[in-house]
């Protein structure tokens, strides 16, 4: 299953992506490259809407994990929303859920991103 990466929101501090397809050993490098292009020195939040992710393996997790380590080193965060039961289970196995900001739905994530945008505009 191919991976489609839709950039939903970009600002100085925050990036938001909607992922559709599988995040596996074939498609993970695609996300890694996209993030490498999109993340700037001022990025402090990277958000992923996972509603369209059918399954994830360790290759995909490594990309999320790498992004999380980078953001934490900057006192930033990685957020995820709308994970399926199967995808959430894999995140729980590798014990990174406590380090992620988890949103129940896209609206909640949008609200948070809008708050960042309002703060940036001040």
């Amino acid at each position: 299953m191919p991976l489609t990466i839709i950039e939903q929101y970009t600002s100085d501090e925050a990036l938001s992506f909607e992922l559709q397809g599988s995040l596996d050993s074939d498609t993970a490098p695609q996300l890694d490259e996209r993030l490498a292009e999109a993340i700037t020195p001022t990025t402090r939040l990277v958000a992923f809407n996972m509603a369209g992710v059918s399954f994830i393996s360790s290759a995909g997790l490594r990309v999320i994990f790498k992004t999380l380590k980078l953001m934490k080193a900057r006192k930033g965060q990685v957020s995820v929303s709308q994970m399926s039961k199967g995808v959430k289970k894999v995140f729980e196995i590798v014990k990174i859920m406590p380090d992620l900001t988890v949103f129940g739905d896209q609206a909640e994530m949008d609200e948070y991103l809008e708050a960042i945008q309002r703060r940036e505009e001040l």
């Binding site: 299953m1 191919p2 599988s22 596996d24 050993s25 074939d26 059918s54 399954f55 994830i56 393996s57 360790s58 290759a59 997790l61 490594r62 994990f65 790498k66 999380l68 380590k69 934490k72 080193a73 399926s84 039961k85 199967g86 995808v87 289970k89 894999v90 196995i93 590798v94 014990k95 990174i96 380090d99």
Partner: protein, 141 residues
């Protein structure tokens, strides 16, 4: 009959082969994403640790749906390696943890049972997952 898979194949083509060979409904249960993840972990390990030593290689997969379980039976020829001996991920903070080395732990923890044996130069790994009761029209029955 087991599916023959080359280490050079994409995971998308492997999963399509599984669906074509065993039927769309064979993995149609609440563990389907776990099965896909396990197959990808196995394939990625073959590519990284087996195929690189002898260019490309072949491995075999049989999917057995039986008595409320899905069994993924993997086989490949090569030096013996027991993936059931993997350690679970550490408890240290994310900043201190290595980025890699998660695949075998994921395989192990997604499965309900993992059995490994090495016979005549062939690694044989069976990963079993309990499933919800299959439907009466399930072609695996």
């Amino acid at each position: 009959m087991a599916l023959s898979i080359q280490s050079t194949e994409t995971i998308a083509s492997i999963l399509q082969k599984v669906r074509d060979h065993y039927g769309e409904h064979c993995l149609d249960n609440d563990r389907v994403s776990d099965c896909y993840t396990i197959i990808d972990e196995f394939h990625a390990n073959i590519k990284e640790h087996v195929a690189t030593k002898i260019d490309s290689c072949q491995w075999f997969l049989e999917v057995v749906c039986d008595d409320g379980k899905v069994k993924l039976e993997f086989e490949y020829a090569g030096p013996g390696f027991d993936p059931t001996q993997s350690s679970p991920p550490g408890e240290q903070p994310v900043e201190a943890r290595p980025i890699g080395g998660l695949g075998l732990a994921i395989m192990s923890q997604l499965s309900d049972e993992m059995n490994y044996r090495y016979e005549n130069g062939t690694n044989k790994l069976t990963v079993a997952l309990d499933t919800t009761l299959p439907r009466e029209d399930d072609p695996c029955l």
